[in-house]
């Protein structure tokens, strides 16, 4: 595996992590609203 391929792979992992983290934020907001309503 070349260093450039490794960089692209790690960037892919990092960006995927960022997207999942963004969804986690949405999930926290949704859970908060749902719990408060309940």
């Amino acid at each position: 595996m070349s260093v450039w391929d490794a960089f692209k792979f790690a960037l892919n992992v990092y960006l995927m992590g960022t997207v999942i983290t963004f969804f986690m934020w949405l999930m926290i907001v949704a859970v908060s609203r749902f719990t408060k309503k309940g």
Binding site: M1, S2, L11, V13, M16, T21, M24, W25, M27, K36
Partner: protein, 408 residues
């Protein structure tokens, strides 16, 4: 002289091994004393370093000629502590009867249970209020603090490690001990001991090392921002339990390979929030304390001379430093961004708390702010990104463990 050496096989073993191994043993006994001393003096994290120092000293002193489990007719140099190289079921059964730490190693290390036990205990003492109260800020700061986890992977590849080994090394950048243990056990069992020891030693140094990075990169004026205008939002236990069960389920659904870690952490959180005091005390005082003691001691006992003379060890020392250094810089850059977006209301130091290492980095941020301005009490705000850092590290570790399997 021969009679004397026969009576003391530990001393004789120095003459039965190659010279470089004998020198490495002496070095390690000295290192054990040093680690123990620094742990006792609170310079390194005592909970891990005291048992680790004892383990390093004693395991490298107590070496003798023993029957080889693979072929009992032969003899090899070993200890009465444990043998991490057993492979076949027969060797396992024999080892359990010979080595006193083998049951703990076989039942808690080789399957990653020890990391899960530490994570359960951490969950049971974690305060989620600021994280759930300010999820946007906390998560926004945790992502840049993973810079080391991202950039260490290609650097490790450039230094000659395989993709699986590089991913296990990159996880050091997340600064989360149990996660490093889990990743190295899953991806690079051959490097599990050096990676874990290096990461735990570096994580212990974070408390005294990061203040220099902070002072070099953040001017005094910004370090003293008191964050008085920010409110700490009180979150109900119901909200925290709902968050834990939903997040744990979704993350386990996405990354089944890391589900044991997720379930351990969120089970700890739910135990705490459901207020079953006996379980909370059990998770904190028994599971976390016991797991930390055996983690430190067994890691110390696994640090033998052959690991130190391994040429990869030097590379790992460099990569561990690079990973945590980059994550620290990333965290501070995130802090600067938050400070700029809030028009100077947020202290940029809480960015470095995104490098999880609960609660050391949050304490470092607070200490550095408090040194400049006595009214700057930023610890509660720093705990948000600190907890978010644990979660983002778990996510990135899970992605690495899942995706790296498909690489050639």
């Amino acid at each position: 002289m021969d009679n004397f050496l026969n009576i003391f096989p530990g001393i004789m073993s120095f003459f039965q091994m190659p010279t470089e191994m004998a020198i490495a043993r002496v070095f390690l006994i000295g290192l054990g004393f040093l680690v123990l001393y620094l742990g006792c003096k609170d310079i390194l994290e005592p909970l891990i370093m005291v048992p680790m120092g004892v383990g390093i000293c004693l395991v490298n002193a107590g070496i003798l000629m023993m029957p080889d489990l693979a072929d009992p007719a032969k003899q090899k140099l070993g200890t009465m502590f444990l043998d991490s190289m057993v492979n076949t079921p027969t060797e396992h059964i024999n080892a359990l009867q010979v080595y006193f730490l083998q049951p703990i190693y076989a039942l808690t290390f080789s399957n990653g249970l020890i990391a899960c036990m530490v994570f359960l205990g951490i969950g049971a003492i974690t305060e989620l209020d600021f994280f759930i109260g300010n999820p946007k800020l906390s998560l926004m700061l945790a992502i840049p603090a993973e810079l080391g986890t991202f950039l260490t992977f290609p650097i490790a590849i450039a230094m000659g490690f395989t993709p699986k080994e590089s991913a296990a090394i990159a996880v050091i950048g997340g600064a989360d001990g149990p996660m490093v243990l889990f990743a190295s056990l899953q991806l690079a069992k051959n490097l599990f001991v050096p990676i874990s020891i290096i990461s735990y030693i570096y994580l212990s140094i974070v408390y005294s090392g990061y203040p220099y990075l902070i002072k070099a990169l953040v001017p005094k004026k910004l370090r003293g921002i008191p964050m008085k205008e920010m409110k700490i939002i009180k979150v109900s236990s119901g909200e925290k339990i709902s968050f834990s069960i939903v997040t744990g389920t979704v993350l386990s659904l996405l990354f089944p390979v890391a589900a044991p870690l997720f379930v351990s952490f969120f089970l700890g959180v739910i135990i705490k929030e459901s207020n079953v005091t006996r379980y909370v005390r059990f998770a904190d005082e028994v599971i976390l304390t016991g797991a930390t003691l055996f983690l430190g001691f067994l890691l110390g006992c696994l640090l033998s001379a052959d690991i130190v003379v391994n040429p990869q060890m030097f590379k790992l020392i460099i990569l561990g430093f690079v990973a945590l250094f980059l994550s620290g810089i990333g965290g501070l850059l995130g802090g600067y961004l938050a400070c700029w977006l809030s028009k100077g209301k947020i202290n940029p130091l809480i960015g470095i708390a995104g490098v999880s290492c609960v609660p050391s980095t949050a304490k470092v941020a607070h200490k550095c702010a408090n040194e400049v301005n006595e009214e700057a009490f930023i610890l509660p705000y720093a705990m948000g990104p600190n907890i978010a850092g644990v979660i983002t590290t778990a996510i990135l570790t899970a992605i690495y463990v899942t995706k790296v399997q498909f690489l050639q």
